[in-house]
């Protein structure tokens, strides 16, 4: 299995920023320590995944969901993460809902505009306006997440 090494590394830029924000001014991190932090991050993801997946399997589900992750955090003794994680989840859900409503709204508006154009051109000959309307595909598709 030829795997690219970057596949398991998280972006250095993000890690660096977190390091910067977590440490007081004047404290630096050695190169080796930086690498170890990046590895620790990947290990954390794997460990959390494994834990979460156990909960999903116990519940006979094939899809890992956010609840499983929450249970995993408890198991890993990171209970104090739960509250902020729930907030993050709520924010994400709202965002998704907002996006969906926004694109549905756009779709509605587009249709209304084309409908109005239709009406105003009623006296004129353009029957092919109908074709235009029908030809209008669903250009805006939602992200098909797993």
């Amino acid at each position: 299995m030829a795997e690219r090494p970057e596949d398991l590394n998280l972006p250095n830029a993000v890690i660096t920023r977190i390091i910067k924000e977590a440490l007081p001014d004047g404290v630096n991190v050695s190169k080796e320590a930086r690498k170890a932090i990046s590895q620790a991050a990947s290990i954390f993801v794997l460990y959390a995944t494994s834990c979460a997946n156990n909960f999903a399997m116990k519940a006979k589900r094939k899809t890992l969901n956010a609840g499983d992750v929450m249970s995993a955090m408890e198991e890993m003794e990171f209970e104090r993460f739960l509250q902020p994680l729930r907030q993050a989840l709520e924010a994400y859900k709202k965002g998704q809902k907002g996006k969906k409503e926004a694109s549905e709204q756009k779709r509605k508006e587009k249709k209304n505009i084309t409908d109005e154009n239709d009406k105003s051109r009623d006296e004129e000959e353009d029957e092919h306006m109908d074709d235009e309307q029908e030809g209008e595909n669903e250009g805006e598709e939602e992200d098909a997440w797993s």
């Binding site: 795997e3 090494p5 970057e6 596949d7 398991l8 998280l10 972006p11 250095n12 830029a13 993000v14 890690i15 920023r17 977190i18 390091i19 924000e21 977590a22 440490l23 404290v27 630096n28 991190v29 050695s30 080796e32 320590a33 170890a36 932090i37 590895q39 620790a40 991050a41 990947s42 290990i43 954390f44 993801v45 794997l46 460990y47 959390a48 995944t49 494994s50 979460a52 997946n53 999903a56 399997m57 899809t63 890992l64 956010a66 499983d68 992750v69 929450m70 003794e77 990171f78 993460f81 902020p84 994680l85 993050a88 989840l89 994400y92 965002g95 996006k99 992200d143 997440w145 797993s146």
Partner: protein, 126 residues
């Protein structure tokens, strides 16, 4: 996933997180919210880990956080037991010999074997 503007972007790319998660062969499908939650949890974990290690760094009157400080932190906190392999192996120059107790570090080891090659900035598209 575009659209979320924060002042400081400490969000990990969901696609990358998902890739790492799928290294676990027992994992099937993953709900879209999951990489988002994991990213947040990861951020919090790193902050905790760094803060606690920093205390050790400062207690030793050092201005540079080193592997040794991290090792000490890992060994002194039950919370970081899952990082024990990392602590034991981190100071070895090569990762080719990996006597790992925990499964997770061995996965990292396997994928880290690029002798002599420098890793450039990550440009893996989502």
């Amino acid at each position: 996933m575009p659209g979320q503007k924060r002042k400081y972007n400490v969000r990990f790319p969901p696609g990358r997180i998902k890739k790492i998660m799928q290294k676990d062969t027992e994992v099937g499908r993953i709900a879209s919210a999951v990489p988002i939650i994991i990213s947040k949890a990861l951020e919090m974990f790193l902050r905790s880990f760094l803060t606690m290690t920093c205390k050790i760094t400062q207690s030793r009157n050092s201005r540079v956080m080193s592997i040794n400080h991290m090792k000490q932190c890992i060994h002194s906190e039950k919370l970081f037991d899952f990082l024990k392999d990392l602590a034991d192996q981190a100071s070895t120059a090569s990762t080719s010999e990996c006597k790992c107790q925990s499964h997770f570090y061995s996965i990292i080891c396997e994928n880290a074997q690029v002798p002599g090659k420098k890793m450039k900035a990550d440009t893996v598209p989502l």
